[in-house]
């Protein structure tokens, strides 16, 4: 379980997270929606210990993420992350991209790492691209590669930051289908997204972020179709 407890986070004088609390249980899919600059990405970076926090606490399976004694490299193996801007490693083939971390971080043998990488690439529909270089692929394929690369580490949680926002519209579907598949398989996920249909249909709960706080959180269909907070109503009426 991921437990975010009253987290505050500032960049210099700018307070970006102003007391965020959120519990995500094993197997749950939570979508995070909200205006740009409201702190959604920052929250994911804090959960993954890429950014430090100023106040509060984040627990992943009862381990305090930001405690000094926590081995952050080890912790990140539990948390797969995919970013908005696809960032495959351009100097490696698709297969090498997915096999690298299992081999050097998890210290698997080369054969084992390649086997796992192949399995995850097939999982996201890239079974015919092993030896291709990522720059030769579409944005949608590169984003699915990023998902497979994260999955090859066998994470317990996936953190997804607007993974379809930078894609051409016709490529969004293939990536959302992949995420839908993961959700069906029971992967625990926090998805920052602008795809309201996806948030409504695939996630269990939806959290609406507004200026560094969660202004509303509830059952997915209810928040998207019948929001209670006027701020959520205003936001949703604009994105539709």
């Amino acid at each position: 379980m991921i437990s975010v407890q009253n987290v505050h986070k500032s960049f210099g004088d700018l307070e970006v997270l102003k007391g965020v609390s959120l519990d995500v249980k094993k197997g749950e899919v939570v979508s995070v929606i909200g205006g740009s600059g409201s702190g959604k990405s920052t929250l994911l970076y804090c959960i993954n210990a890429i950014e430090p926090i100023n106040r509060g606490k984040i627990l992943v399976d009862d381990v305090d993420v930001h405690a000094k004694e926590t081995n952050k490299d080890k912790l990140r193996q539990k948390l797969g992350m995919v970013f908005q801007q696809w960032n495959s490693f351009p100097h490696m083939t698709v297969l090498e991209n997915a096999a690298l971390a299992p081999r050097i971080v998890k210290k698997m043998s080369k054969e084992e790492a390649i086997e796992i990488a192949k399995k995850e690439l097939e999982h996201v529909g890239l079974g015919d691209k092993f030896d291709v270089y990522p720059t030769k692929m579409s944005g949608g394929q590169q984003q699915r590669l990023a998902i497979a690369r994260a999955l090859a580490m066998k994470p317990d949680y996936m953190l997804l930051d607007e993974v379809t926002s930078a894609l051409d519209p016709e490529l969004v579907g293939e990536v959302l289908d992949t995420l839908r598949l993961l959700a069906e398989e029971g992967m625990t996920m926090i998805c920052v997204t602008h795809e309201m249909g996806f948030a409504r249909d695939v996630s269990d709960r939806v959290a609406y972020f507004h200026e560094g706080v969660i202004a509303e959180i509830g059952e997915a269909r209810q928040v998207i179709t019948d929001p209670q907070n006027p701020l959520t109503q205003k936001f949703l009426s604009k994105v539709r």
């Binding site: 490299d73 970013f83 801007q85 490693f89 351009p90 100097h91 690298l100 270089y133 720059t135």
Partner: protein, 221 residues
């Protein structure tokens, strides 16, 4: 045209010319190796937050890139000589080439380093890689691809510029050519052969470099 070519004397002196070519290669390779090492340090210094280090690096780079190579060599040979530091022609030319190589390569390295998007770091980090692994497997290999061709060009430039050794009496290819032609008066023949040798050397370097690149960088480059 009444000039009669006499190639015989040139071929008789081939061993000396080849020896000169070897010295040319020797000084260029050494100037490149030392230049790379210093450039790495200067690039780090330039990106360092300590003002002193970054300013020393900036001054070095600016002088090296904005003054003639001839001037550097004269400074090393005659300039230092005026202060009682007498360098041999070889060491004077080597120092000047190292100075210039380091200056140019500093900018090459810094540019290569800064051209790696920060998302490559966060992606590696998010996969649980340590900083050392991130540099070893992700950052440096990509950097090497971007600085490889500029480095090759710098090496070719060093080979050609070492010919300025002629001005301080160094016995590299040009200096040797100069000496031999003045003894035999077959000026044109000697310089034509020397030019061909320079051409062959640089072409071989470029060819070897692209062969090596194909082995090293299988992906996009």
């Amino acid at each position: 045209m009444d000039y009669e070519f006499h190639w015989n004397v040139v071929f008789q002196n081939m061993p000396q010319l080849l020896n000169g070519a070897f010295v040319t290669l020797h000084v260029s390779v050494l100037a490149m190796l030392l230049g790379v090492v210093i450039a790495i340090l200067l690039a780090i210094a330039k990106m360092n937050n300590t003002k002193f280090f970054s300013q020393v690096a900036t001054v070095w780079v600016e002088i090296a890139r904005n003054t003639p190579a001839l001037f550097q060599i004269y400074m090393a040979y005659f300039g230092l000589g005026a202060f009682g530091i007498h360098l041999s022609p070889y060491v004077a030319v080597l120092s000047a080439l190292v100075f210039i190589n380091a200056g140019y390569l500093t900018e090459t390295f810094r540019g290569g380093f800064q051209s790696i998007p920060s998302t490559q770091y966060s992606a590696s980090k998010s996969l649980g890689m340590t900083s050392i692994q991130t540099y070893r497997y992700i950052i440096l290999p990509q950097m090497l691809r971007r600085i490889y061709h500029p480095m090759t060009n710098q090496f070719v430039w060093s080979i050609l510029m070492s010919s300025l050794g002629i001005l301080v009496g160094m016995s590299e290819l040009s200096g040797t050519t100069q000496r031999l032609q003045s003894l035999s008066f077959r000026t044109l023949e000697f310089f034509i052969v020397a030019a061909v040798m320079y051409f062959v050397i640089t072409k071989l370097v470029l060819f070897g470099s692209s062969l090596l690149a194909r082995r090293l960088f299988k992906g996009e480059i």
